[in-house]
């Protein structure tokens, strides 16, 4: 039997490249701990995405798989203690790899903070951002070596320390000069 096939035109992006659309960290209570958006989302879309996802993910049982469908994309999540790490990837992508990207990130955080806990991320979210920026760039995994990332971050930290001292002494000088 042959009828006209009227297929819904779904706007599923058929791209092979492993684009990560966003990363977010949500606490068990549904509080946002970190978000980074690699594709363009308006503030409204962002809040909606987080709201929807935390609804879906937080209610999932422990033995189910770590992937959920979300609007033609896939969200891969993993729970560490009270914190859920979520990555939104494209439909065609390797979910297990994304899961390991999360774990990779956690291991790097752990190495940096020294047995990291949620509070570390709450109070130092900007540092977590810096680390994430060394791991992922433009939605792609840019570095898979923990050592390289750790080296870069500590180089930045050292420089920041130096710069801070300079800055404070400089501002003192300026302040004195302008008096």
């Amino acid at each position: 039997m042959h009828y006209t096939v009227c297929k819904e035109l779904n706007s599923v992006i058929l791209s092979v490249s492993s684009q990560i659309n966003f990363v977010c960290l949500i606490s068990r209570q549904g509080k946002v701990r970190l978000t980074k958006w690699y594709s363009t989302y308006s503030q409204k879309e962002r809040s909606k995405a987080i709201r929807e996802l935390s609804g879906v993910i937080l209610s999932r049982g422990p033995k189910l798989c770590n992937f959920v469908d979300w609007k033609g994309h896939k969200v891969v999540y993993k729970r560490y203690a009270s914190l859920y790490f979520c990555i939104c990837i494209d439909e065609e992508d390797n979910e297990l790899e994304a899961l390991e990207v999360i774990h990779h990130f956690v291991e790097i955080l752990d190495r940096y903070f020294g047995s990291v806990c949620e509070l570390d991320l709450i109070f130092n979210f900007h540092k977590a951002y810096y680390i994430l920026d060394e791991l992922l760039i433009a939605g792609e995994l840019q570095e898979s070596s923990k050592r390289t990332i750790a080296k870069l971050i500590s180089a930045q930290d050292n420089l920041v320390e130096v710069a801070k001292e300079e800055a404070s002494s400089l501002s003192n000088i300026i302040a004195q000069a302008t008096k």
Binding site: M1, H2, Y3, T4, C6, K7, E8, N10, S15, V16, S17, S18, G30, K31, V32, K36, T40, Q43, L64, C65, N66, V68, D69, K71, G72, Y80, A81, S82, N94, E95, L96, E97, E100, V106, F113, S115, V116, C117, E118, L119, D120, I122, F123, N124, Y129, Y130, D133, A138, L141, S144, S145, R147, T148, L152, Q156, L159, V160, A163, K164, A167
Partner: protein
């Protein structure tokens, strides 16, 4: 590194974070954040803020934004901060702008200059920070401003810079492929970078480039293969290892690239076979990451030119995935199966039970993936089961996005593979009932067309049966609350056309229902319009049949209400209705021939019967007709829309010559609209059909002398001139022709195959009540499902499942089950039966007869199976199918018992071989004994072996808060 308190953050900020952390509700959090926004708005405009302080404000802005509030009032301060010379501040500024701004934000133009400057900095950290911003912020317009510098940075001495430069170029390529098309050679060069990180990063843009244009990268196959080989052989620095795997992320990327390059290219594929095979062999299958690589290998194997050996190892790995306890692996297994099934369809069969397990899994994600797989393997033999399942699932979910997707899949499958029209209609009814608003309107039109003309003229009983069953089902459904509009349209149309056709229902009953619909959905004008038109038809058929029409009071009030409706369409229809009722039988017969919707309407474009009239008119001095093509100045569209064409000469376009003399209303034009009317009904365009009623009332008496020609007017060409564009009435008929065969097939030739599913259905009901008590015995049911899904080796599975049914019937509760089954089979006598039950007059007899003895009942069922199966001999069936039986049993045993005793299952198989009847008893007795055993095994839970395995798994996974890996994520609260 100090873990808490951060460095240099004020108490104020720490308090903010803390109070948000302690907030009990989202509303409380919002209130705190709003307060913070007010504070920051005030503070930021204060003059002379120290830079340290400013940095903190920016971070607070980031925090606000992260929590989902708008911090745009402070964006400009973040932009300013990027201008600072101090790296410490600059870095914060860049971080903030990358988080705040999208690539099309107005403020970006203020940053480009700073980025340009920073890209030239001799401090590589500043360059890195700038490159991070480039990746996020530079848009198509600003690419040229930074491109030369980024390209220059490809040769930077620091690998971190080179890597980021590559990624920046990759981003440029995504945004505007032309901007970097001349730089492909740079990517190729970076592939040979000394630093593995840079090489790995280079694979990202290459993957993209290859995805767009495979052919120009074929020369790189050798390089990619050799890189992959080296990576797999542990030749990269240890730092790239991940859980003892050699650079798995790079391996995965390379495999993705190879999959693209080898697709449909035998020569390239051959170069890859060895290395992919090596990875299959070597990869550590116990870790997540290893499985990720293996999964990517399977994807690669299914994409490149097929190689039997690789396919085999892929199939092995899939089997392992599917048998795994981990839902993640099962999920990947199902996905991989869907990929491989294109190449080797037979592979699905050995995993049928695993697939069904996944289908019945409580995990939604897994279920959906399995539906995806089933969608890929749907054939006409299993479409009923699959679509049924899909619809059941569709009904159970709320997520509209996915609902729409699965509905469109159901419709697609149903349209492609429907075994019978009856089934198609039933299926569509379910789809419409539960997700009508998500269905394309065309589907509804198809359904109506099918009901109208689904069967050929040569089989009248089936023809009317289909329609009356449709009417029956719609009358049943119509009372349900809140039906979707589209579905109601279908219902009204069908009731109007065929509601009274078989004489089962009186006109007043049907019209009453239609009035109810019009009343219940009084704010849906389309539905009301359909309902009124249906009323017209019902009354017209009544009048034509010479019966007296009694208009129900509610119908009368409906007509009155609609005559005063604001909608001209509804008003028009109401008047038409009144006009039709006033006509005599002869006239009504002509304007509303019964069952005309599927009649081929012959159209003679030349309208020869009008010739006399035209000549007379010309003799009287009328203007001769000028064909459209010879006229100018007409706007075609408005011309087509002119509906009151007998009043005004068809001249809606701008005309520059003087108006002609008014023409007499031309009588001959009256007939065509009637036929348009009835052909319109078919697709039921929700536009007003102004022409029909008026003309009918005015002109029918005069046109009745033109005899049979009216009904058979050919309107092909006419419709282009008059009236609106409609579905051409000729298109339905060709599509109806092929369907005819299948329809007949349902009742006649399909008999043999469709008997068995129906039997299994009957059995299902007997079986269900006891289902929960039998953990192991679920498998027969699954096998049955497997049989219906996967076809093929279904026969002996059916038998083994019969064994299951047998056993339940023997239990006390079985009697009840049998009763219900009989009841269920008896019901279809009054209701339009589901398609598969329909053909089962015989079975009903067989099952309902020996009600007293459930055993005999089942024997009866068995007897039914025998003659229908192609091999009549038990011995034959068993002998030929034994390997399959063993396989399936082996599967069940392992799947259910987890390395429990396999012996019993082997015994089962032996028993099966010794003839069917003994097999059934054996299985039943065996099952009866085996059940407690295996439940005990399962309830025993993690035995030592399991526990060890779990432990090992946990250790491989690394982080598990509850395990002995306490260093990670010790939550302060927990």
């Amino acid at each position: 590194m100090g873990s808490q308190g951060g460095i240099g953050q004020s108490k104020e900020f720490l308090d903010l974070v803390k109070s948000i952390g302690e907030a009990r509700s989202k509303a409380e959090e919002d209130r705190i954040v709003l307060g913070e926004i007010e504070t920051l708005k005030r503070r930021l405009v204060e003059p002379g803020i120290p830079k340290r302080k400013m940095k903190e404000y920016i971070i607070r802005l980031v925090y606000i934004e992260m929590l989902g509030h708008d911090a745009s009032f402070g964006y400009i301060h973040a932009v300013k901060m990027t201008h600072d010379d101090n790296l410490f501040l600059k870095r914060t500024g860049y971080l903030a702008v990358t988080l705040f701004l999208n690539e099309d934000h107005d403020l970006i133009i203020l940053i480009v200059n700073t980025i340009q400057k920073d890209l030239k900095s001799d401090n590589f950290l500043i360059v890195c920070a700038a490159l991070n911003a480039v990746c996020k912020l530079i848009n198509e317009e600003t690419i040229p401003a930074v491109l030369p510098q980024v390209v220059e940075l490809l040769g930077h001495q620091k690998e971190a810079v080179r890597k980021k430069a590559i990624m920046a170029l990759h981003r440029f390529h995504q945004k505007s492929p032309s901007s970097v098309s001349h730089l492909v050679s740079n990517f190729r060069k970076r592939l040979c970078d000394n630093d593995p990180g840079v090489m790995g990063a280079t694979l990202c843009p290459l993957l993209d480039l290859i995805n767009r244009d495979v052919s120009s990268f074929k020369d790189l196959v050798v390089s990619f293969v050799s890189i992959l080989k080296q990576v797999a052989e542990h030749r990269l620095p240890k730092a790239y290892d991940y859980h003892q795997l050699p650079a798995p992320f790079i391996q995965i990327r390379l495999l993705k690239i190879l999959a693209l390059l080898g697709s449909g290219d035998k020569q390239s594929s051959e170069q890859m076979y060895t290395v992919v095979g090596d990875i299959f062999r070597k990869c550590d299958s116990s870790s997540n990451m290893g499985n990720a690589v293996i999964y990517q290998c399977i994807c690669c194997v299914s994409s490149i030119h097929p190689n039997p050996k690789l396919l085999e190892s892929a199939a092995d790995q899939i089997a392992r995935f599917l048998k795994s306890d981990s839902h993640n692996l099962k999920y990947l297994g199902i996905d991989a199966l869907g990929r491989l099934i294109k190449l080797s369809p037979e592979i699905a069969e050995q995993h049928q039970l695993a697939v069904i397990d996944c289908l019945e899994d409580p995990d939604d994600t897994l279920k959906r993936k399995t539906f995806e797989l089933l969608h890929k393997m749907t054939k006409s033999s299993n479409v009923e089961v699959i679509v049924d399942r899909m619809i059941d699932y569709m009904i159970s979910i709320n997520d509209n996005h996915y609902k729409t997707e699965i509905v469109s899949r159901c419709v697609e499958l149903a349209e492609q593979f429907a075994p019978s029209n009856q089934w198609f209609i039933q299926t569509m009814n379910r789809v419409f009932e539960h997700a009508g608003d998500l269905v394309n309107i065309k589907v509804a039109h198809n359904l109506m067309r099918l009901i109208a003309e689904g069967f050929g003229e040569d089989d009248d009983t089936a023809y009317t049966h289909l329609r009356s069953s449709a009417v029956d089902s719609y009358l049943r459904i119509i009372g349900a609350p809140k039906l979707p509009s589209v579905f109601l349209q279908v219902i009204c149309w069908v009731l109007g056309e065929y509601g009274t056709a078989d004489g089962k229902y009186s006109a007043s009953y049907i019209t009453g229902k239609l009035c109810d619909v019009a009343e219940a959905y009084s704010n849906d004008e389309t539905v009301k319009a359909y309902a009124v038109t249906a009323l017209i038809k019902i009354y017209a058929f009544e009048i034509a049949a010479g019966r007296k029409v009694d208009i129900l009071p509610e119908c009368q009030s409906l007509i009155e209400e609609l005559s005063a409706s604001h909608s001209t369409d509804l008003q028009q229809r109401a008047y038409e209705l009144q006009a039709v009722i006033a006509l005599d039988a002869q006239a009504v017969e002509n304007i509303m021939p019964s069952d005309a919707s599927s009649k081929e309407i012959e159209i003679d474009k030349n309208l020869p019967f009008l010739n006399d009239h035209v000549e007379r008119a010309i003799e009287k001095g009328a203007q001769p007709y000028i064909p459209e093509s010879e006229r100018s100045g007409f706007s075609n569209a408005s011309y087509l829309n002119s509906q009151d064409l007998h009043d005004i000469p068809p001249s809606h376009g701008l005309r520059f010559e003087a108006y002609e003399l008014p023409k007499q209303p031309s009588v001959p034009l009256t007939t065509p609209p009637i036929s348009i009317g009835s052909s319109n009904e078919l697709i039921a365009v929700p536009e007003p059909a102004y022409d029909r009623g008026n003309q009918a009332a005015v002109s029918v008496p005069s046109s009745s002398n033109s005899g049979p020609a009216e009904v058979k007017l050919r309107l092909d060409g006419v419709q282009k001139k008059w009236g609106r564009p409609t579905y051409s009435s000729s298109s339905p008929s060709p599509s109806a022709a092929p369907s005819q065969d299948t329809v007949n097939g349902l009742t006649v030739s399909n008999g043999a195959t469709s008997v068995t599913p129906a039997i299994s259905k009957g059995r299902e009901t007997t079986y269900e009540p006891t289902r929960k008590s039998q953990v192991v015995e679920i498998s027969p049911e699954k096998q049955k499902l497997a049989a219906s899904l996967f076809g093929g080796s279904s026969k002996q599975e059916r038998k083994s499942s019969l064994g299951g049914g047998h056993k339940t019937a023997a239990k006390p509760s079985g009697g009840h089950g049998a009763e219900t089954s009989v009841k269920k089979m008896a019901v279809p006598a009054q209701q339009p039966p589901p398609p598969d039950l329909l053909d089962l007059g015989e079975t009903t007899v067989a099952t309902s007869g020996p009600l007293i003895d459930p055993f005999k009942q089942l024997e009866g069922l068995l007897d039914m199976v025998e003659p229908t199966s192609s091999t009549n001999n038990h011995g034959d069936v068993n002998a030929t199918k034994v390997p399959d039986v063993m396989a399936s049993f082996g599967d069940t045993a392992t799947a259910v018992e987890h390395g429990g005793n396999h012996f019993s299952s082997i015994e089962d198989v032996d028993n099966l071989m010794s003839g069917l009847s003994s097999a059934t008893t054996d299985v039943s007795s065996d099952g009866g004994i085996a059940t407690p055993q295996s439940t005990a095994q399962i309830s025993k839970g993690p035995n030592l072996k399991d526990a060890l395995q779990k432990d090992a798994l946990v250790r491989q996974m690394g982080v598990n808060p509850s395990s002995q890996n306490p260093n990670l994520f010790k939550d302060l609260l927990g």
